[in-house]
Amino acid sequence: MTGAAVEFDGLTVERGGQAVLHGVGGSFGAGRVTGLFGPSGSGKSTLIRAIAGVQARVRGNLTVLGAPAGSAEVRAALGYMTQSPSVYDDLTVVENLRYFASLRGSHELGDVLSRVGLEPQAEQLARNLSGGQLARVSLAAALVGKPRLLLLDEPTVGLDPLLRRELWRLFAELAADGAALLVSSHVLDEARHCDEVILLRGGRILAQLTPTELAHRTGTEDMDEAFVRLIEGSGLPEGAVSAGPGLPEGP
């Protein structure tokens, strides 16, 4: 690991007069998969959007690849996947990917289609794809051009278990190639695929640790249970959550 790819400290984001993130701090580095876990409404997307440089009303310290979030240097090296698929539904899969590649100065798609398992759909219009396929086009659009920093907002949601496992394997490969990955999910069970996890609840970071440390500290291998024990041990009352259904959704 060569220093942190992203560092943040005292990061506060307000939306509609309400704080969505309450002075959170943390960091993650290149060459590893960092998971961002927490229930829906915990502030995962807001944190990712802040790092991507598209979130308004961000206060605090935030350094991305040694530069301010959203700066031209950062954008040249960033791949961002929004939570709901953001591709052009009136373009084919390949046309979508070529466009996003060309914006990063790349004219080759490489093996990205086979890596997300979309080779058979290459020439199909995005609007004719299933939800899961569309999510993978959106993921692939973040991967083309080999960005050094990948911010992936719930890339595995709604996919079948086999495909989810393959994607986590892909994330590990990308990290092994030297990329820094921040991958969010509300399925706590997926924490085991990460090198490190950041646990977010009610706009506050409960902990940042490796899955092994999490299991040790809470005395359970069950990630859902570990999360619950962490909340109980954190002194944050359950009711302190500002939004969301409280307990995470099951896989």
């Binding site: 440089g53 598209v54 308004a56 031209a72 961002y80 929004t82 953001s86 591709v87 009136d90 373009l91």
Partner: protein, 245 residues
């Protein structure tokens, strides 16, 4: 600004259109139908057709490109593609220039076909060079891109964006000199028409109708339309925010 990213964006927008042949057909055939209608309505008063037919050639690209741009950008906002674009090296002006290039080309095709029909079989008489009719139409299309972009910035939904059409385009149509010459309007309205870009496009078409060759007044009108287009695109670029709530 990056020519490569502008070109990539223009290509992407045109590819989207190519997958939608029905829209292309409507964009090109509807103005043909309207010019034909006008010709039939004034079958016994061809002078009126000559008066109104040419200005309409400038009006069509404004309406088409305004609607196409404002809805396309509204869709980019809603679908999240705009947010994604804002995290790439694409500059805001690259994005707008890409749209302007794509829709400028579309307008060139539209104007060529509609002019060929209107000046040919329909018999509209134009003294000036026909190529400049197409040039003026393309300039108006760039204006349409800029105004459409502005409208999309102030609209939250596609319903709202469509409602900007009667607000932004219709007053220009009423005041541009198509219904009555601008000089004969009440002075307050004349003053207002002076700050509306379509007035200059229509003036330009009048020059093309009545004067052979390329007059300075015509080039002046074209320059003013282009200046309005550039202004609208720049203000539109300022309304595109990288960071949103």
């Amino acid at each position: 600004m990056s020519p490569a990213r502008t070109f990539a964006t223009a290509r992407r927008v045109l590819t989207q259109l190519r997958h939608d042949p029905r829209t292309i057909a409507l964009l090109i055939l509807v103005p043909c139908l309207l010019e034909t209608l006008l010709r039939l309505i004034y079958a016994n008063r061809l002078r009126v057709f000559d008066q109104a037919g040419a200005p309409l050639l400038a009006f069509f690209p404004l309406t088409t490109v305004f609607l196409v741009t404002s809805i396309a950008l509204q869709r980019e906002r809603v679908s999240g593609t705009l947010e994604r674009l804002m995290t790439t090296p694409l500059g805001r002006l690259d994005l707008l220039a890409g749209y302007a290039v794509a829709f400028g080309l579309l307008a060139a095709v539209q104007a060529s076909v509609v002019s060929a029909l209107t000046l040919g079989p329909l018999g509209l008489h134009v003294e000036g060079p026909v190529a400049l009719v197409v040039v003026l139409a393309v300039c108006v299309a760039l204006l349409g891109t800029g105004l459409g972009l502005l409208a999309s910035a102030f609209a939250r939904t596609e319903f709202q964006v469509v409602q900007f059409f009667p607000l932004i385009i219709m007053p220009q149509l009423l005041l541009c000199g198509l219904l009555i010459p601008r000089q004969r309007m009440p002075s307050a309205l004349y003053a207002i028409s002076d700050i509306l870009p379509l007035s200059y496009a229509v003036d330009g078409m009048h020059h093309l109708s009545h004067q052979p060759g390329t007059s300075g007044a015509l080039l002046g009108d074209i320059a003013i339309v282009l200046a309005f287009a550039a202004g609208a695109l720049l203000v539109g670029a300022a309304t595109l925010r990288r960071r949103t709530e």
